[in-house]
């Protein structure tokens, strides 16, 4: 996993609540058995016309937000299914962080597993980032995981909470399985005790 310490990138605003995993990636694309190629499928229904051409008006098709790497959206982002294809699609599109007032629980843990950083800010802070992204051309934020802060070059800054364990794993790019297997003794003794 790619370590995450600090990332500066262009903001892509998507001002909608309840962006569920079926919107992020429709089920018919979950049949692939490898982990690649999901970036083009991100937000498929919202993003493409029936003939496959880009839908005008959708945020990912807006030239102002081309090349963005920080997605900012409304509350309950990622509710719904446990499909990890959702964070894969977001990440493979080029995003490194998603900012929202709240997240679906399973989506959030899936993000951590892939080095994609889900950040909870207050609704007011999220609104203010979205407003700035809509007003300021090429608007960027810096996501500083070590300092647990999101800031821009125009005076905005907001701090966020993160579980220290998740943070350590992200900063070091650690693989959970390797980490757990170091606890083999604990697992084996738990199994012995239960019979």
């Amino acid at each position: 996993m790619e370590p995450f310490t600090k990332h500066a990138g262009k903001v892509v605003p998507y001002d909608m609540p309840n962006v569920d995993t079926d919107q992020i990636i429709p089920a018919r694309f979950l049949k692939k058995i490898d982990r690649v190629g999901f970036g083009e499928l991100l937000f498929y229904e919202l993003r493409y016309e029936e003939d496959g051409s880009p839908k005008p008006g959708f945020t990912l098709n807006d030239p102002r937000y081309a090349g963005g790497s920080v997605l900012v959206s409304g509350p309950q982002f990622g509710i719904g299914s446990s499909r990890e294809h959702a964070p894969w699609a977001i990440q493979q599109y080029g995003f490194r962080a998603v900012i929202a007032p709240s997240f679906g629980d399973i989506f959030r843990s899936n993000c951590y597993q892939n080095g994609l950083l889900p950040i909870v800010l207050s609704p007011a802070e999220v609104d203010s980032i979205i407003a700035r992204a809509q007003e300021i051309d090429g608007y960027e934020v810096t996501v500083d995981l070590e300092a647990q802060e999101v800031r821009d070059a125009h005076g905005f800054s907001a701090s966020f909470e993160i579980d220290p364990f998740r943070k350590e794993n992200l900063v070091q790019g650690l693989d959970d399985i390797g980490l757990t297997l170091r606890r083999e003794e604990d697992i084996a003794s738990f199994e012995r005790a239960r019979g």
Binding site: D22, A27, S109, D163, I187
Partner: protein, 467 residues
């Protein structure tokens, strides 16, 4: 010892390792695997030369992709075929017990777990599927995980979890005729919203759940995730024990008695504190129909679709406008004036024998409306066999409903059963998200009797007043 909730008891008895301020490493008793969220996990194992740690605690089934008719014919969809073949290969290579689509034990993963008696009180159960909480109906802590976590559990039989808060959802009273467990859980979600349960483990308490069958409790727990909660459970009682007794994987003989004693002790102690409480009066619950694009957008069947300007914030108004536009509604129409094109009775929410009986009772002796296509997809082969023994298949066929084979089917439209753009369904599944039942498809979630009645009337009707 301080009084504990059932959730805390189950949690505490599964901690392999804990450190203050960090997630705990929990032991997993049962890991259910299916074809959609596992291929990349097995690839990861292969890449690192890892094996499955506990084959005896792991079972796999094909359900999401499988066609529900003409199974003897070659699969038309090449990609589905590749995914099912990958599941078979992985099961063979790693030595997993696996039910392919021809197995007589095949079915939706959340239907076969309890049905085979694998799902037991006090267990921690995981599956790469967000509706895993279904298994909480027997008094287990069951939750959905992503593919990386599937790989993690395969390799270690453990999972890292931050301890959620607890929430009691108490529904007292008794349900009116025609009001089902589906209506109760939709009403709960309507009340607390899709985020009301985020970060919480729910325990469903009160007379309504106590007097509910196991099938009904499964319907309720199934939809915990639609309220944002990863897990939801009902304390085990005589109903639970009677359901489990004699099932294939349930304990037998003297072991059974010891198990029942253990299970009975799982109940939340008197005086134990939950972090949150939600209360509902079951006697007032009405049959529900969702009107929008998330399960909290639900109404009693005698209601009217809301208008966007009846909401306060501009963000809410925009979201409601978007939902109405997607659903092809303008707001203000009576639910009972909405006509449906397709009726889907099935999914891990409502495809068990009791659901099919309730739907058949409505369909019996009637004919579906000409304009409607109606599908009945039993949750498992076992359910299908039982329904056929009871003659339910004939009731459905005579009413013009198609009687299919077991699988997820139109719940998520990965197989050929799907809505076309603009088509409107009454569905007993759990998600009405945009595109869930096919691109552009419009889903209204309802109970099995409400779905059957809609098929016959060609529009939504109030089953309380209808026969």
């Amino acid at each position: 010892m301080a009084p504990q909730t059932m959730f805390e008891k189950i949690w505490d008895s599964h901690v392999v390792r804990e450190e203050p301020g960090k997630p705990s490493l929990l032991y997993v008793d049962l890991h259910l695997v299916h074809e959609v969220t596992s291929p990349q996990a097995f690839d990861g194992l292969r890449l690192n030369s890892r094996r499955v740690r506990r084959l005896d605690r792991t079972v796999a089934v094909a359900d999401h992709n499988v066609p529900t008719n003409n199974r003897d014919k070659p699969l038309e969809d090449e990609v589905s075929k590749a995914q099912l073949e990958a599941m078979q290969r992985n099961a063979d290579e790693f030595g997993l017990e696996y039910f392919d689509m021809f197995s007589e034990k095949q079915g939706i993963v959340h239907v076969i777990g309890p049905e085979q008696g694998r799902t037991q009180p006090g267990m921690i159960i995981v599956c790469g599927d967000s509706h895993t909480a279904t298994h909480g109906a027997v008094g287990a802590m069951a939750f959905g995980i992503g593919t990386s976590e599937v790989e993690h559990v395969l390799a270690t039989q453990c999972i890292w979890q931050a301890k959620p808060k607890t929430m009691e959802v108490r529904v007292e009273g008794s349900l009116a005729n025609g009001v089902t467990p589906k209506d109760v859980i939709l009403a709960v979600i309507g009340k607390i919203g899709t985020s009301g349960g985020i970060g919480h483990a729910i325990e469903y308490t009160g007379s309504v759940f106590r007097s509910m069958s196991m099938e009904g409790r499964m319907t309720v727990c199934n939809m915990s995730i639609e309220a944002g909660a990863r897990t939801g459970m009902v304390a085990p009682d005589e109903t639970t024990f009677a359901y489990l007794k004699g099932r294939e994987h349930a304990p037998q003989g003297a072991e059974w008695d010891a198990a029942v004693e253990r299970w009975a002790a799982l109940r939340t102690d008197p005086g134990a504190q939950f972090d949150a409480l939600v209360e509902l009066d079951g006697s007032e619950a009405a049959p529900q129909v969702t009107w929008g694009t998330n399960p909290a957008q639900t109404l009693p069947v005698d209601g009217r679709v809301p208008m966007a300007d009846s909401f306060d914030s501009s963000q809410e108004q925009a979201a409601v406008e978007k939902a109405l536009a997607y659903m092809g509604l303008s707001g203000g129409e009576r639910i009972q004036d909405i006509a449906v094109d397709t009726v889907f009775i099935g999914s891990c929410t409502n495809s068990r024998i009791e659901d099919l009986r309730a739907a058949a009772a409505i369909a019996s002796g009637k004919k579906k409306a000409d304009s409607v296509r109606a599908l009945v997809v039993p949750g498992s082969w076992a359910v299908k066999r039982q329904a056929e023994e009871e003659g339910l298949d004939r009731v459905f066929s005579e009413a013009g409903f198609e009687w299919r084979d077991a699988g997820c089917s139109m719940c998520l439209a990965m197989n050929p059963d799907r809505l076309s753009p603009g088509e409107r369904s009454a569905s007993t599944s759990n998600r009405n998200f945009e595109g869930r039942q096919g691109p552009g498809g419009r889903t209204h979630l309802v109970s099995p009797p409400m779905a059957a009645a809609a098929a016959i009337a060609g529009r939504f009707v109030d089953v309380r007043e209808w026969n």
